[in-house]
Symmetry: C3
Subunit: 175 residues, 3 copies
């Protein structure tokens, strides 16, 4: 059941998290909108192939848009009454912000403010859990883990439902 | 309780997943068979030490065999009525297939077909969850994560029971 | 609810595990004591910043001590009746032992013995789950994963409560 407000879906690489999130939205009668955070210039072909695969899986009902950086703007513009929004995924959005040298903490706070305004359209946010391996050698990767972990905590603290997906199976952490 | 059909046991490195899986099999009255996916030529001494430790832990009741590549064949030959099979582990099998340049997707599909034929002997499959760290730099490691995630999803979708083990403690994801 | 004896709190980087563990202790009427395993000579500024942040978050009630290596000694000296102890974190303690060339298995066993003596003061142990990414290239990192996994299993087998924290949300594995 898709709940009003924000739902967070965490999972590892190839965990089935996107498909699970799509299913939450498709089970609702609302008009589904897909906001991809992919689409930054310079993205590689692995990413393009993955996007095409996700698009093929989703049906005709879905509208699509891309927001590699301006996720708040896309939510403001598109998340009107009667729509159910899927954002896929937050970790790629954080990567794009870091690559562009943006103030990631400020942008993360702005996203959380936008998400938890009074609104009626449910938003499901997909994100990668990346903090369960060995500490990376690379300072950029450590900063990325910190940004992702902080954002997940901020959203999870206020989200209605939070899921952790492994092997395609959801585990409910909250809700 | 060990269920007929396939059971998937996921966990991290040194999570206690093999020991938990052994316990599932030992609690059944069936004859336990261990199929190791270790044993490929060129394996290192770390692996040999780990195999010896696992073997010492298991009791006299267990029969052992090795299937570094031909896991389907080993299941066909050995998983007869009255046997409970432990496969340890799928991630090493995927590694072996990749090293040998096999068609991993095709072999993964064949494994899933073999597992979910009508059969009476329970099969417990142990595998490493490897997708919860930072995206690896290395394309081979990313491909490996994808293969593992896809195979886990395919098996979990049809398995009776799925567990995630952390610190030796099982969390039931399905069943 | 904080239980007598040991409680293990596992989680990834920036998962909110320390904050959750602090909350367990603050909800009890006992005098809170913080044992940091940070403080080894040569620690970097990232670590110092993190320690300062944790200290600022905890209130005036807390006493603080550091035990980068002699964790058993610190527990023996400080964990007297009427105290609730937070150890943050075991993975850093294991790192310190490895850097100093100590016998990590022996020290881990000694810690488990100390923790599970008859004692009245609850001890909450925070640790990073590090085994859910790709196998590290580096033998030291693999040895570290093994040490951490083994120690978590030994403690979890005897602990009253075990939690896994993701996105600030606890999942109870035992208790």
């Amino acid at each position: 059941m898709l709940r009003n407000g924000a739902t967070l879906v965490l999972g590892g690489a190839r965990s089935g998290k996107s498909r699970f999130a799509e299913g939450l939205i498709e089970a609702s009668p609302l008009d589904p909108l897909y906001i991809a955070t992919a689409g930054a210039p310079g993205e590689d072909s692995e990413m393009a192939a993955r996007i095409a695969e996700h698009r093929a899986r989703r049906g005709e009902r879905w509208r699509d848009t891309q927001a590699p950086l301006d996720l708040c703007g896309a939510l403001e513009r598109h998340a009107q009454l009667g729509t159910a929004v899927l954002v896929d995924c937050l970790t790629l959005w954080l990567t794009n912000l870091m690559v562009e040298g943006r103030d990631v903490l400020a942008e993360s706070e702005a996203l959380v403010e936008t998400l938890f305004q009074d609104r009626f359209s449910p938003v499901v946010l997909v994100s990668n859990e990346v903090g369960l391996g060995i500490v990376p050698d690379n300072a950029m990767a450590r900063a990325f883990r910190d940004h992702a972990g902080r954002l997940h905590q901020s959203i999870a603290a206020r989200a209605g439902d939070v899921y952790f997906v492994a092997a395609g199976l959801p585990l409910k952490l909250k809700g």
